[in-house]
Symmetry: C2
Subunit: 120 residues, 2 copies
């Protein structure tokens, strides 16, 4: 069983990475810190992600309990994503990784769409 192997982490760091290691997971969580967002809003905020990838990553985050998904039954239907309490608990981790990554990228003189200051 592959699930067994996924539980065989060498260290807790790997467990953390298994939850936020996806291609767009950090940036999704990052955007949701400030406020809950609709699928379309996330799509607009993360242009590089195709609908499939966005859904996939959102589904993964939902499965791991980091975000919640609420469907608003209206026309047209909309879905809103927000951080759970568990999801909020990982903010400090993202924060530290973002700070370190920013310093690292500054050293390389590289910019990214989402920088630290966006958190406010």
């Amino acid at each position: 069983m592959t699930q067994q192997e996924r539980s065989m982490f060498n260290c807790p760091v790997e467990a953390t990475l298994s939850l936020i290691g996806g291609k767009y997971k950090p940036i999704i969580l990052w955007h949701l810190i400030k406020e809950p967002l609709h699928y379309m809003e996330l799509q607009r905020l993360i242009p590089g992600a195709t609908p499939k990838m966005l859904s996939q990553q959102l589904r993964g985050l939902e499965t791991s309990g980091m975000i919640s998904r609420e469907v608003i039954p209206e026309k047209p239907p909309r879905t809103i994503y927000s951080l759970t309490e568990f999801g909020k608990s990982i903010i400090p981790v993202l924060d530290v990784m973002c700070t370190w990554g920013t310093d690292y990228l500054n050293g390389l003189n590289v910019k990214t769409p989402c920088q630290k200051q966006e958190r406010g």
Copy 2:
């Protein structure tokens, strides 16, 4: 060119993940925090990694400047790996990730070979 795309991070967090995201990279760094180690010692500390994987991950860490590699010209030859200053700079990041991951795994009642207390 793929290298271009790899520089197109959505956020600094991804940049951080690109350096420590490998399968055995966190655990390698973790072990090197306390002291420089020989290849064989790392091999013993990380039984799950095959020689190829260990070399591969070490090479990756060396390329990104996080560890340094020194060959001791003796019979039999030995190689010693140690953290660079740059590598040491990421310790706090690993520390936070480890702490969070430990709490997470405790909630799941799961253990890993390398826990927080091993850092001393």
